[in-house]
């Protein structure tokens, strides 16, 4: 460690607001050379805002940045962070799957490459030397799509490290920001990745390791900083800190949220059962929802909870699974949206702009599509009738818009979501599947959406709500299932559904199975 007294990176008083909401409030962060520094926090804690300010994506309202003791003016001009010795590896890795390892490695390396002539042989030799140095067995000619996930992650990291090293202007080994590189990797591969990070720090590289996974942070980092609600709660030397302290810093002493859902009352109707459900991530999941019940599904990134609504509604294919609604059983490997709709299942997808509404089309067209050929059979479409139906739904769901003949793109996010809710709830579904139902929606609309969902349950429908917002689950869920690596690891119900209990269950050590 040369110049151990001068930090590689020093952030002071970084502040950023979005439309009156403080995403980051006077945040300080110091990262030393050759250090792996964990950055922890829930969704919305300000982690990604901080990273995006460093990469030049956001301009901060206030704050100063020093790298190796030199002051760096903010906002960081987009694409200039490498010049200052910062490189980023995001969760999607930024690799072109169709291209070769070598093509990906040199992509964007404008400073070093001769733009008029690429010497492929020399570049391949250079790549092999680089891979050898990092104990990485990669063929420069291999196509990235054929690599295992961990090899891809390693390639992205080696590329970032190479890039900061190649830029000699800053004169140091640089800083890598690894933003959630692990959630989709098997556990064995994670340790391979960690070994690689260790070899990089041995050469003086500093690493900021952003993760949801406390175990990983405990294992690999030297120090860690926790953010909550835009504030830095504290920085810890990992080896001297107990796991529980970090969990508490992440979750915070919780203020109670208003629980707006009434206690689950016995209702008539069928309990809906899901048996041995497997998809991309989830494996052999069993669950059931009573009539009138709101079941919350949650977990950390990559735990698979957000896959369940799509598997149950036939939006994406299940590898195995059965759905039992009373006497009717559905094979989920053969489920389609049409079968789901006929079985009175409604899916409210998270991607409102692409899967929820056709933004170019009118409100009437969007709302009445599921009625055509169902409740409104017959060949002729009566436009006046459809507009009346739509107007009635707009009133019932408090959609603020000028007229049913407007296009959906003209509505605010909250009104769009209320419209989607109206589109599906008019069919009188028995099971409603929600994925992040209030993403990007203002508080008022959020409340209205919750009220509609609770009304629906009072009428005897069952609701499954997948979300990463623990507070939302505390407000509306009767029961919560916490997912970890594709399996249910904890179940909370009744008064135990609090955001701190959910968070604690999420951050609980892997493999631990609790039923509270």
């Amino acid at each position: 460690m040369i110049n151990a007294t001068i930090p590689r990176l020093a952030i002071k008083g970084l502040t950023k607001s979005f439309g009156g909401v403080r995403a980051l409030s006077r945040a300080d962060l110091t990262v030393h050379p050759a250090e792996i520094h964990g950055l922890l926090g829930k969704n919305g804690s300000g982690k990604s805002t901080l990273i995006k300010i460093l990469s030049g994506y956001h301009a901060p309202d206030e704050g100063a940045l020093e790298i190796d003791g030199r002051s760096v003016p903010l906002p960081m001009p987009a694409g200039k962070s490498e010049m200052h010795g910062l490189a980023f590896v995001h969760q999607n890795l930024g690799l072109l799957a169709d291209a070769t390892v070598l093509e990906n490695l040199i992509a964007g390396d404008h400073e070093r490459l001769n733009p008029w002539r690429i010497n492929w042989r020399a570049e391949a030799a250079r790549a092999r030397a680089l891979f050898d140095e990092n104990h990485l067995s990669l063929d420069p000619g291999a196509v990235v799509a054929d690599l295992s996930p961990v090899k891809r992650a390693q390639l992205a990291i080696v590329r970032a490290a190479d890039r900061v090293r190649a830029h000699q202007s800053h004169g140091s080994a640089g800083l890598l920001v690894l933003d959630e590189p692990t959630p989709f990797l098997p556990m064995d591969d994670v340790s391979e990745l960690f070994a690689m990070m260790r070899r990089l720090t041995a050469r003086g590289v500093a690493i900021i390791f952003v993760s949801h996974d406390i175990d990983e942070v405990m294992e690999v980092t030297d120090r860690a900083t926790v953010l909550r609600d835009g504030h830095v709660i504290g920085s810890f030397v990992t080896a001297e800190t107990a796991r529980g302290q970090i969990v508490e810093a992440i979750v915070g002493r919780s203020m109670t949220t208003d629980r707006i859902v009434p206690a689950l009352a016995p209702a008539s109707g069928f309990t809906i059962r899901v048996e041995s459900l497997s998809g991309q991530t989830v494996r052999d999941v069993e669950m059931s929802v009573a009539p009138g019940e709101i079941l919350g599904l949650t977990g950390l990134i990559g735990s698979g909870y957000d896959e369940v609504p799509y598997l149950l509604s036939g939006a994406s294919p299940a590898r195995s699974g059965q759905l039992a609604i009373g006497d009717a059983r559905h094979d989920l490997t053969r489920m389609t949206p049409t079968i789901a709709i006929d079985a009175a299942i409604a899916l409210i997808p998270a991607d409102r702009q692409k899967a929820g509404l056709a933004l170019d089309l009118t409100l009437t067209e969007n709302v009445t599509l599921p009625l055509l050929g169902r409740r409104l059979s017959g060949a002729l479409i009566n436009h006046r009738l459809l507009a009346r139906e739509t107007a009635a739904i707009m009133t019932r769901f408090a959609v603020k818009a000028e007229a049913p003949c407007q296009t959906a793109s003209e509505l605010s996010g909250g009104n769009q979501q209320k419209l989607v809710l109206g589109k599906w709830l008019q069919l009188g579904p028995r099971l409603v599947l929600l994925d992040e139902p209030t993403q990007g929606i203002d508080v008022g609309a959020r409340r209205e959406i919750f009220e509609r969902i609770i009304e629906l349950c009072a009428a005897g429908a069952s609701v499954i709500c997948a979300t990463s917002e623990f507070e939302q689950l505390e407000m509306i869920a009767h029961r919560v299932l916490v997912f970890d690596r594709g399996r249910i690891k904890a179940e909370l119900s009744g008064s135990n559904v609090t955001k701190s209990a959910i968070a604690e269950a999420c951050y609980q050590e892997s493999g631990f199975h609790a039923t509270v």
């Binding site: 049409t338 899916l347 997808p349 089309l361 599921p370």
Partner: protein, 320 residues
């Protein structure tokens, strides 16, 4: 509110107004050659085939697909009609179903390759169209084939109402059918969602694959109808007949999407766009311009149409 309603109406009928203005200008310049009923009845009658090809494009375009093969479907079915009629002496009642079935089959091929192999329809139909052109040249030995049964010409070009050949009324009838399907049937709504919100449609139970396949079958069959009418119009089949129609048809379909129902490919807008374009070309040729004005006009119209529709959608985004 009133102002936006007014500007919407202006947008809907803008092209009609421009069309009338074009007629007025040419009419003032050449009142005795351009502004005559015989000139207009010729325009209406002779361009009915172009109207039908344009209408054929409207269906796959609404579903979000391109059918570049429609022009060569026309050429091929036209040649098939001429060969069956003139060389084999098969009566019209047998020729028509065969030709329609061939059009449908071409649509099935387009749709199957597009859907099953997930290739963009632009590429698939470009290939299928070129292949069909090759087959046409082969079976016709690159010759124009004449001597088609006069019954066909009788039902296409010779019979007239109000001085306009009957083929014009076929085109109007087809426009009415497509307008009805797009406007008043659930299939029309399914086409729309397949084109504009495919994932939304899929999750709402629209069989988007089947809808796309059917839209290719529809455009193939309409291409075959256009082929029959083309043969009937000239009494012969020319192996390069369709090639000249493809770009005008696309220009008209996109220009048509700026009027009547702005922002949507629509039947009446397409009809108006075709006649606006051919009126302009006819007027310019009456003034003595040579054939190059056709390409200038059609190419220019396509570019202007897509620019206008981008402006319309861009304006909507800004008002968000």
């Amino acid at each position: 509110m009133r102002l936006s309603e007014l500007s919407y109406q202006a947008e809907r009928f803008g092209l009609v107004v421009v069309w009338i203005a074009v007629i007025a200008v040419f009419g003032a310049m050449r009142p005795d050659t351009f502004l005559t009923w015989s000139n207009f009845s010729t325009i209406f009658g002779s361009e009915a085939v172009l109207v039908i090809v344009t209408l054929g494009l409207v269906i796959p375009l609404t579903a979000g697909d391109f059918d570049l093969s429609i022009a060569q479907t026309l050429t091929f079915t036209s040649m098939l009609t001429a060969i069956m009629s003139a060389k084999m002496g098969i009566p019209l009642v047998f020729i028509i179903p065969v030709v329609l079935a061939v059009g449908a089959l071409i649509g099935v091929v387009n749709g199957t390759i597009t859907l099953y192999f997930r290739v963009h329809s632009l590429i698939v139909t470009l290939g299928v169209g070129t292949f069909l052109h090759g087959v046409t040249l082969w079976v016709s030995d690159s010759q124009t084939i004449g001597g088609v049964s006069s019954a066909l010409m009788q039902y296409v070009i010779i019979q007239r109402f109000f001085g306009i050949p009957i083929s014009f009324y076929y085109a109007i009838w087809l426009a009415a059918v497509i307008w009805y399907v797009l406007e008043f049937t659930s299939f029309g709504q399914q086409l729309l969602f397949t084109g504009r919100g495919r994932e939304v449609g899929r999750l709402t139970g629209v069989a988007v694959g089947r809808v796309r396949l059917l839209s290719f079958v529809a455009s193939g069959m309409i291409g075959a109808i256009a082929g029959l009418l083309y043969t009937g119009t000239t009494g012969s089949a020319n192996p390069s007949s369709g090639t000249m129609l493809l770009l005008p048809a696309f220009a008209a379909a996109f220009l048509g999407a700026t009027c009547i129902k702005p922002g949507r490919f629509n039947a009446w807008g397409s009809v108006i766009a075709v006649y606006f374009l051919v009126t302009g070309i006819n007027g310019l040729s009456v003034l003595g311009f040579r054939t190059f004005v056709q390409d200038l006009f059609y190419g220019g119209a396509l570019i202007v149409a897509v620019m206008v529709s981008q402006l319309i959608s861009g304006r909507k985004e800004r008002t968000l």
